[in-house]
Subunit: 78 residues, 6 copies
Amino acid sequence: MDPITLIPNNTLVTATPEEGRQLAVHISRLIVKATQPDAQRREQLRDVYANDAAMLLAVTQTVALEFATIAAANNYWK
Amino acid sequence: MDPITLIPNNTLVTATPEEGRQLAVHISRLIVKATQPDAQRREQLRDVYANDAAMLLAVTQTVALEFATIAAANNYWK
Amino acid sequence: MDPITLIPNNTLVTATPEEGRQLAVHISRLIVKATQPDAQRREQLRDVYANDAAMLLAVTQTVALEFATIAAANNYWK
Amino acid sequence: MDPITLIPNNTLVTATPEEGRQLAVHISRLIVKATQPDAQRREQLRDVYANDAAMLLAVTQTVALEFATIAAANNYWK
Amino acid sequence: MDPITLIPNNTLVTATPEEGRQLAVHISRLIVKATQPDAQRREQLRDVYANDAAMLLAVTQTVALEFATIAAANNYWK
Amino acid sequence: MDPITLIPNNTLVTATPEEGRQLAVHISRLIVKATQPDAQRREQLRDVYANDAAMLLAVTQTVALEFATIAAANNYWK
């Protein structure tokens, strides 16, 4: 399917919640990359959503969803 | 119902997180295919959402939701 | 409440992931049917969302949510 | 808070998946009722969303979310 | 952070599903209050979403999400 | 990736539900900060969503999603 890597290091396990949160941000951006492979176009679209309140909120929802999975995968780092 | 295959290989089990992520992308696209069977029309719509920041964010939300299920099905590849 | 059947065969158990996915699509459509009982009107609305990129993405989100429940009900067919 | 009943019979337990699905639809409508107590106004708004493809899809997402909880509460009727 | 109380009584445990549902509505409204502290402005915005079909549906989605957590916290009142 | 801290104190564990709720609000705002690093621009966008009913509802959905994870991480403070 997509030739780009979608899950860095091919694992959901991270050492800390902070790294898990970074991974959540990262893997959601990789889906954007897989869907829109043109880097210049992505940069333009990034300007759009970083300056639009509704889209910033949509970003937070995506990250929350990804983080839920990663947190569960790490047994909430307990 | 839909004559097309909705779950490739009829399983949610994958060898790795990377393959699980690819599956998440794949099965969400198959729902688009089942809903809009016209390949040419789908290609046009794909151009729309790949160039629209809000829709790209919606794609990330869908993939996050599908991946949550696939990750759980694979016990998070632990 | 709604006189139409909302869960075919009154079970979430399916033999395979493929059938579970079909069920996810099916039960979400039955909610549309219960909310808009006029078949001709539904057909018109279906044309709308099958040709609108944003709405197709919304369909994928609904199916992902329903499938999560059905997959859990089937212990992920493991 | 709201004087209307939000959970009929004050339980999430139902005899069957079909009844669980009806409950999902019901409790989401009761939230609409609690938020917009004017019955005539609700009827007008219902006409709006029953004839709008995007809103019908939003209805399916709400029901999917409520049903997930009810299904878990009933151990998926297994 | 926010000086207002976000979780009344500082617990997710409720005696009944009905009270759990009321809590779901309540805590989501407290997030609105924390985000928009001006009571008069909130009242105006409340008029907006109580008379808009799409926003009423968004309310139902929020409540469904909060209720899922509260129901799990109470082991579904079983 | 982002140089700012995404999870304060690098833990999802909190003493109380109230603190867990505050954390849910906090970590979602940090995602906004990571996506839009310009503080002045963020302040402008905050004015936008604090005065828009639909966006306030989107905020409640994000917080509900984050709180679900935090609540699970704390075993619902039981």
